[in-house]
Symmetry: none
Subunit: 192 residues, 4 copies
DNA sequence: TATGAATGAGCTTTCATTCAT
DNA sequence: TATGAATGAAAGCTCATTCAT
């Protein structure tokens, strides 16, 4: 009855709502996405949403926590284990881009969240975690890039690349993009 | 009442609406900003807005065209005149960051527009202009960075830096940020 | 709660909206009737209207089609089956006046629609159907009245009689009015 | 400088407003016509209207009184002087149709006024005057048509004919229409 | 007289949320 | 769990009217 990924109908409704919501929020913003929009794409009625989430705000909180945790976990598991700083940067780009290729909506969601939300609990967001990495490296003299510049460089570049990709501006293969982005970013981190 | 003075009261209402609108749109998004919000901050009633703009959509069109033209003009005048590719990249970062320091709302507005708008007449946006620069350089062998990666690197990094700045994550001086960002980006463009 | 009874509460909301709307539109015009007016008389809130009709325009379209179809059907079934032209005119007056006595609001609605709407899909309106009857009779020599004069005579007279009735100018019994109107109109159609 | 009807610019603004207003009111109704509509077609701004009329209501009152007086005067001068009842009916049709041919907007205006206005000072309207004629004739036995039926027949038929004419349904010449309408109506009044 | 900016009330419509079924 | 009708607040927009110039 369960197995791995049977038919779409077996995905629980709450999960289907979450998937649709993250896509719509990431494309149209929070106010730009209505409960009706979400319900419509899920294939249920508006009222049904409230069986799974107590409010629109609740959906946003749920998604933000979930995406953040997933990404922070990834960084913790995949990036922090690296020995060298260069290794960490390389792995960071790989992890972020891999995440973005697999979950473009979730990746975009975080950007939209950063830009549009007025009150952001910064400590919990992935950016904070990454900033810490760069801060420590900066203090230890492993890089001469200002931590916030380093963070902007990595997150901003990748983020924008995926926007361009969705706009159809970039049509390159996934592995090409990964290789090229890694090349550019690693050079920026390399000393003068 | 006071000749050709430049006191704040003499700024025409349409311009005051535009300034408030660009700030609010860039912070709360298009749907997240109401006509009432705008009117309230300008100090007029909602109805008065409609003497100057025919609709909310009209305000958005006006702002987009205006900001785009200003930035495209700047790039045309300041960046394209450079002789070397490195000179162009350097000047590009300077021009963009200078624009962003002076017009943070307008700069953010463009990002928000990119992310939230569904139908974008891409040709007209500044990014398009910059992409062309990178494309030509790539074809001439002046850089080995994929054009879309180069564009993402420059625009994305700067864009994100200003988001971090507004979130209070970065508190460095303007000229420090400019110098550091230029350093990082120029390195990325330098050959291997 | 009470089986298939026909108590007023069991009339579906959409139908209740339609009935109120046809009355208000026919008395105060389209712009003169507000959604709030309609909702208020139905006993629901303005927003509830939009669960049943997508817009005010949608209500107007719905009513126009419905009333038109009913009247055209009536004419088709009751008038066209008559053998003689005189019989058709007589039956036409009966059918129209009977319809107007029973559905004064619907009858008035059509008049208001004729007068106030700018773009009318004429083919669909009952008048068109009647005009055809008169045209054919005119061509066959069954009457010497110009088709448009004949149509004006029948529709215009009846229409105006009902306006006078609602203004309180005419207080005669229904069957008196029917008899007298029939007498007048039939004479007009009779040869010289 | 004055003479009889020089250039259009010499028509006083108040008169130009009145002419535009009667046309718009007669086509779009009272609520459906805005001060801006009127001002726009006159070629002045909204504020300027208020130099000539104290309110929209004032324009309506002015037009109603003016059109009514003109028509009542016409009836008094042209119809009541006839010796025979048949002569009066004939002259009435002539006068009404001539008025409608020359002032289609004013003629329509009265219809719209009858239908849409909630409070009508009936005594003053032309219909009242005509009804009196038919009442007296009915009492004297000069016609066997019920006064309200007679009134509906004359006013309603002519009214509708002009609506059809504006809708493009009738394309006959003016004198043809007059002759045919007179023929039809006179027959209706003729005894059995 | 006329303009044009502004007001304030009211319009149509949207939308998050509730609730009886 | 889900539906669908309804609410009520707020959105975008319109419009008669006012007023300084």
């Amino acid at each position: 009855m369960s197995g791995k990924g049977k038919s779409l109908e077996l995905v629980p409704t709450k999960e289907r709502i979450a998937r649709v919501a993250v896509r719509l929020f990431s494309k149209k913003g929070f106010k730009g996405t209505t409960i009706k929009d979400i319900a419509g794409e899920v294939g249920i009625t508006e009222g049904a949403i409230y069986r799974h989430f107590s409010s629109k705000e609740d959906i946003i909180r749920y998604l933000t926590r979930r995406i953040t945790e997933e990404l922070v976990d990834l960084i913790r598991r995949e990036v922090l284990k690296e020995r060298t700083f260069t290794g960490m940067v390389e792995r960071l780009v790989e992890v972020l881009m891999d995440f973005a290729f697999k979950n473009p909506d979730s990746f975009r969601y975080l950007t939209v969240y950063h830009i549009l939300r007025e009150e952001i609990p910064q400590e919990d967001l992935p950016g904070r975690k990454i900033l810490e990495i760069f801060r420590r490296a900066y203090e230890k003299g492993e890089t001469d890039l200002l931590p916030e510049v380093a963070l902007s460089l990595v997150i901003g570049s990748i983020d924008r690349l995926f926007i361009l990709r969705e706009l159809g501006v970039s049509v390159a293969e996934e592995d090409t993009l990964l290789r090229e982005m890694k090349k550019a970013i690693l050079r920026a981190f390399r000393g003068p």
